[in-house]
């Protein structure tokens, strides 16, 4: 979707302001917001792509004016409502008013380390041979789905070169809508800066993205 | 400038919510903000393109959470401060703290009707020849200036057809930077919806913009 999150190439945000000796978390609630999301994220109720789509669906003014973990809290609430983990009344009351529909399988403390070590690999067996190979010139499609996609607007309808075949990966555009992992071949595609930003862009700049095969068409 | 104002094709803002029997102004301050902005144009000495850039040139998060006349007010204040007509301490104090800068003219009540009637035509005489004619296929250039432009992001790089030649008009990209009116040929360019938004767009949709010659190349 073309939400506020897709901000590559936007202007007006001012300079980058690194914070000297910045702490990992800026408040206790941020620690909780982080941990809650990771823990419940691994409980198999929803997937990461669906979580990202929910977050980018937050209205642009709110998205741009919430802090990073503020967005995590708002997104967690929306996911809990959407996936039946809690009702609006429970969120408002700040406590459960009924037992959970399905008995949950929480991640316990002793499982955390292995869960982190294992991570969640996205590569899958390939259902078909790859269409493109390294060195191929491709054009990204100019699609504007209202659902989740990982093809940023600044790179749509642009010509680039395949610089890596990553392998077959879960396809977020389908996975986020809970219509299956739908694995597709994934490539790293590199663009000349002038192809993205115009002929007077810095000639020394290249920008690469990862793009699934459905994003690409042969030149 | 790729600011939040350039929002054609964005998602996530929700439905259009027309207000039944909406008043022209939503509060006394909106009337005064509206009138102050128009009245200050004469003594201020800025043109409409400078005024538009002053409004769009602000952090996207702020732009999207300000109401229409709050943005007008913020733009007016920036224009006046840039020209030293007022300063922060005066705005804070709510009073003039030092003598005014001399200005060419002040809008008098008698001027109002006449200036409104005259308006600000942007058409200009020229002896240059238009590069394009109705029916020509053109491509909107990929440009991403940090300064003011009237070429929305959603058409950059896309191919359309010249629908009509509108004559020579003041060129905002120059006029907004005080580089003179720099009149250029102006065309209405028609784009098929699928060219803008992808193959599965409503085939009955076409979108046109008014584009100055420097925005276009022959396709």
């Amino acid at each position: 979707m073309n939400g506020a999150a897709d901000m590559g190439g936007m202007h007006g945000f001012g300079p980058v302001e690194p914070e000297p000796n910045e702490p990992v978390f800026h408040a206790d609630w941020e620690k909780k917001a982080f941990a809650l999301n990771i823990a419940i994220g691994c409980a198999g109720i929803w997937n990461l792509d669906a979580f990202r789509f929910e977050r980018e669906s937050i209205s642009p003014p709110e998205y741009l004016n919430r802090s990073y973990y503020g967005l995590w809290v708002v997104t967690l609430e929306r996911m809990m409502l959407k996936y039946g983990v809690a009702t609006p009344e429970e969120i408002a009351a700040g406590r459960p008013l009924a037992p959970p529909k399905k008995t949950p399988r929480p991640v316990t403390a002793d499982q955390v380390a292995t869960m982190i070590r294992h991570g969640s690999p996205y590569d899958r067996p390939a259902p078909s041979p790859a269409l493109f190979k390294v060195g191929d010139r491709v054009r990204t499609k100019n699609n504007h789905p209202t659902t989740h996609t990982r093809l940023p607007r600044y790179a749509r309808g642009r010509v680039g070169e395949v610089v890596r075949i990553v392998g077959c990966h879960v396809f977020p555009d389908s996975h986020s809508q809970n219509i299956g992992e739908d694995p597709h071949w994934l490539y790293t595609v590199r663009f000349d800066g002038r192809e993205l930003w115009g002929e007077d862009a810095d000639p020394s700049v290249r920008v690469a993205i990862e793009a699934w095969e459905p994003y690409l068409e042969p030149l | 400038m790729n600011g939040a104002h350039d929002m054609g094709g964005m998602h996530g803002f929700g439905p259009v919510e027309p207000e039944p029997n909406e008043p022209v102004f939503h509060g006394e301050w909106e009337k005064r903000a509206f009138a102050l902005t128009l009245a200050m144009g004469m003594p201020g000495g800025w043109n409409i393109d400078m005024s538009r850039f002053a409004r769009e040139n602000r952090p996207p998060g702020d732009y999207l959470s300000m109401t229409y006349y709050q943005i007008w007010l913020a733009g007016l204040i920036d224009l006046m401060k840039e020209r030293g007509l007022v300063s922060d301490d005066e705005i804070a104090a709510g009073h003039s703290l030092r003598p005014a800068k001399p200005v060419k003219r002040v809008l008098s009540p008698a001027d109002v009707a006449q200036t409104l009637h005259r308006g600000g035509p942007t058409a200009r005489e020229t002896n240059s020849k238009a590069a394009f004619a109705a029916g020509d296929k053109v491509r909107a250039k990929v440009i991403n200036p940090l300064t003011h432009t009237r070429l929305p992001r959603y058409v950059r790089g896309r191919v359309g057809v010249i629908e009509s030649v509108r004559g020579c008009h003041v060129f905002p990209d120059s006029n907004s930077q005080g580089l003179g009116e720099d009149p250029r040929w102006l065309y209405t360019v028609k784009f098929d919806g699928r060219e803008l938004w992808g193959a599965d767009t409503d085939p009955t949709l076409s979108v046109s913009i008014d584009a100055w010659e420097p925005y276009l190349v022959r396709a």
């Binding site: - | 439905p15 259009v16 300000m66 949709l205």
Partner: protein, 211 residues
Amino acid sequence: MSGHDHHDHHHDHDHSELSETQLRVRALETVLTEKGYVDPAALDVLIETYEKKVGPRNGARVVAKAWADPAYRERLLKNGTPAIAEVGYAGRQGEHIVAVENTPKRHNMVVCTLCSCYPWPVLGLPPVWYKAAPYRARAVNDPRGVLADFGVALPQDTEIRVWDSTAELRYLVIPMRPAGTEGWSEEKLAELVTRDSMIGTGLAKSPADLK
């Protein structure tokens, strides 16, 4: 452009915001009048003009005349600005007006995705929704969805032309004349012309609506 979809956010946002903005405007007006940059009486005339005098009734008269007078309609479609001046409307934000006509096969819709360009002389100042993100964002890529927000559904095969006012050209939609209005006077016809029908987010009223 505040977030409409968050109604509570919108309102509590407004109360604290509003009083602060009222104070800022009052401070500005005092500073500018004390410095002599602005004549308060001129402000009142500006406000009076656009709150009371200039509004969509102007455009309705133009549309009604185009419906009733084929020669006028021809002149209007060929060159909007002088034709509209014949009826007495011209000037600021209407220096270069283009009239676009709806037909059974084509529906026109006007937007300014970049700010709020709107034909003031014939329609007055634009409504909030015209200047807000939901309309500006969706008019260009989902006009049928926007029409649905206005309760309007067009046949699937009707061509939809969206005009994004990116220059100083201002567009006025000439809606189709409703059936059953033969012999009507221009005044009566003008009553059928709604503001939204001249933007393209609505249709003209039918005679039944006037009963």
